[in-house]
Symmetry: C2
Subunit: 472 residues, 2 copies
Amino acid sequence: MPDELQEAVCLALASACGLERGARLVVGVSGGPDSLTLLHALHALGFEVIAAHLHHGLREAADADAAAVEAVARRLGVPLVVGRDDVAALAAAGRQSLEDAAREARYRFLFRVAREQRAVAVTVGHTADDQSETVLMHLLRGSGLTGLAGLRPCRRLPRWDAEIPLARPLLGVRRTATIAYARRYGLPLRWDASNWQRAFFRNRLRLDLLPRLRVENPALDAALGRLAAVAAAEEDFLAAEARRRLTAVLAAEDDKFVGLQRQAFLAAPLALQRRWLRWAAARLGAPEVGFEHVEAARRASAYPGGGARDWFAGLVLWVEPATLWVAQRRATLPAEAWPQLPGEQAFPLEPGGSVALASGWVLTLSALSPPPDDPHTSPATAWLDASALAFPLMVRPRRPGDAIAPLGMGGRRQKIADLMVNAKIPPRLRARWPLVVSGEEIVWVPLLAVAHPARITAATTAAVSLSLRRNA
Amino acid sequence: MPDELQEAVCLALASACGLERGARLVVGVSGGPDSLTLLHALHALGFEVIAAHLHHGLREAADADAAAVEAVARRLGVPLVVGRDDVAALAAAGRQSLEDAAREARYRFLFRVAREQRAVAVTVGHTADDQSETVLMHLLRGSGLTGLAGLRPCRRLPRWDAEIPLARPLLGVRRTATIAYARRYGLPLRWDASNWQRAFFRNRLRLDLLPRLRVENPALDAALGRLAAVAAAEEDFLAAEARRRLTAVLAAEDDKFVGLQRQAFLAAPLALQRRWLRWAAARLGAPEVGFEHVEAARRASAYPGGGARDWFAGLVLWVEPATLWVAQRRATLPAEAWPQLPGEQAFPLEPGGSVALASGWVLTLSALSPPPDDPHTSPATAWLDASALAFPLMVRPRRPGDAIAPLGMGGRRQKIADLMVNAKIPPRLRARWPLVVSGEEIVWVPLLAVAHPARITAATTAAVSLSLRRNA
């Protein structure tokens, strides 16, 4: 007579994990009816099971739990590995809740046993009821798709092991069914007294809210299970798409900053913008970023200008015309793409000489020559009338009040500050932008402006060219 | 003194719909505090509002509702359009619930008024509480991402109008705030008595469950609102991706069938497979397809063979090696891609003659000629030894027991049925597959096999060629 629960377990392992009878599995067994049922069912199905129980010395009942697991394992003739951890001490050391510390200790233990025993998967006894609790808890606390995907039927968790998956073959089985199974096969029915403490949100959900909701929809657990399955697949697809398309948007990346190409970011679908911002925050070691912060960053990204703006968790946003930076407050953003003086000092520049700037950029002054036919070839080169210049020229950072009369503006003077604002040079790059000066007059702002008084005219007989380039 | 609710309305319209003060809006006003508050706030903000009220004669209070709306519109000096519909009759005619019929009648009315009044949007008074109810209702009844996206702050609904959007500027505002606003501005506080009838699931949600859940999370409505916003963007992205990638998977499409390229379908992400199946069902006029049916179709798609398999709602699945068909039970799937006899009868074929098959396919027999150097050029052409044939040849459908000794199998005979199975010819195409017969012997199965006894040998002096082609 085939057992319905066993069939469900068998099918779940095959379809979600590709695991067939005979596979060597570690079964995490707490001593409660769900995990004992799982152990019994897997053993009955012909899987090669190794029971694993972590005694975390938290409750008085812990010794009795261990004894119950031992008795069942002995009865089934299944090997049992018992571990021991001081979860209270771990929680204190890691500033975690007891629950979180216990869960971490448990998974660390189970995957260690799996590696030692050369098992192909770790299985745990989460049921459809656990799935309902998880999905609803995420929903009620505010969660995106990631949370609604709930517990996965089979998943690799690189945090615990890169290869061995965690399988939950009871995820489609109601708790009433595991209890009935435990009764049918004479498994001990032990209850963790903390399950009844309404101080925990999850317990209130289980004891009060879910029963009330099941009155509305008796098939609630199936509905939430379907939602989780759909959400899991859509989450996986979205995460993969966000990763795949990130490469086309990512301008720079480091432990201290992430640069996104602003136009490509703005043109991307909203769902990807949000996911990239969440990724950027995680990449920089920030905790999970909330919806409001994500939306604030999206709004900010529409308006370039200004310096660093506080974001959250010590991160800042720099919204530059070409790049949206997410960075740690003290991070120095990359400036390699732009000409920058290496420091505050000025450098003399003689005809035929050059000045080494930061990041491999070089500013060169040619020897005197006849004027060219067309002096306006590139913003990286400026031809000037040598007779208008006093050598050596100087290359220096800007000073308050600096101005230039740019070519093509009829000799009108413009402040360097305004010139940079108009050219959308990010503020952080302005202080060390190299200026080429003759006497007191700025004659070239590399990439931005040539001085009208020093321009090549029909009367020019001797000329020099200034040029900027970057050595790769 | 700026009013907080008015500011929220203004911001919502600008950010979700790009609508600014002065825009001409139709406001759907039921007479309840939410819609009256919306009317008042939009008017106060300087939008050009037209109130629209549909009297659907359902409740005794309907006249009083209309009177309340009229009084407020008059007080504000706002134009009011009142419509009237017999919703009970509509519900009976359309076999709908009263609620559904009333909603349909309301939207039809509001968009008609908007067109007549040249308004740029229809606005309605849904609040954050309505959003919470909608999201939870979808969740508890079982829903994918589409349902969790809930009510949209601004959306075009092609069903009602291709251009004019439906805006919900109160979607971020709690109902407590609209009531406080209504009190503050002396708007009538009228309640629809049916709101208190616990016979409706939505009412039980509003009256019992949501208040209980808000004890757990006082910011529940904000959390559900965020979830809806995230789900909406992810839904939009997934829907757009599913549409975009469908073109690479769609093999054929009609009101009666949808063909998906099976290999491409199987290789696609799970989330897209599910969406394409949902799309196919909708394309064929079926009601919303449930999760279990989607999963059944996915499982079926892995195993080609057999004929039509029942799916749901009168639809069937045909799983062919190259194509997954979703079709109405009586649909004739396209066979144009394959040679098919036009009916049951047989056709004589003389040298130099031809037979017209279905869908522009033609089978031609050449005149007698010397044998070619290489008779095996294409499965659409067969060269045969004329001395082994009795003219006229016949072209006919298969009969029970038909067999051929295919070239290259050492003269061993094979049943035509097996030949077709091995060649993965879909069963529905086998009955009318043309067979070329000489006397009692099948000499060519177009595209599949040439008869060994009729092959070209070194001794052949006169040959004919049979060829199959399709006239475009």
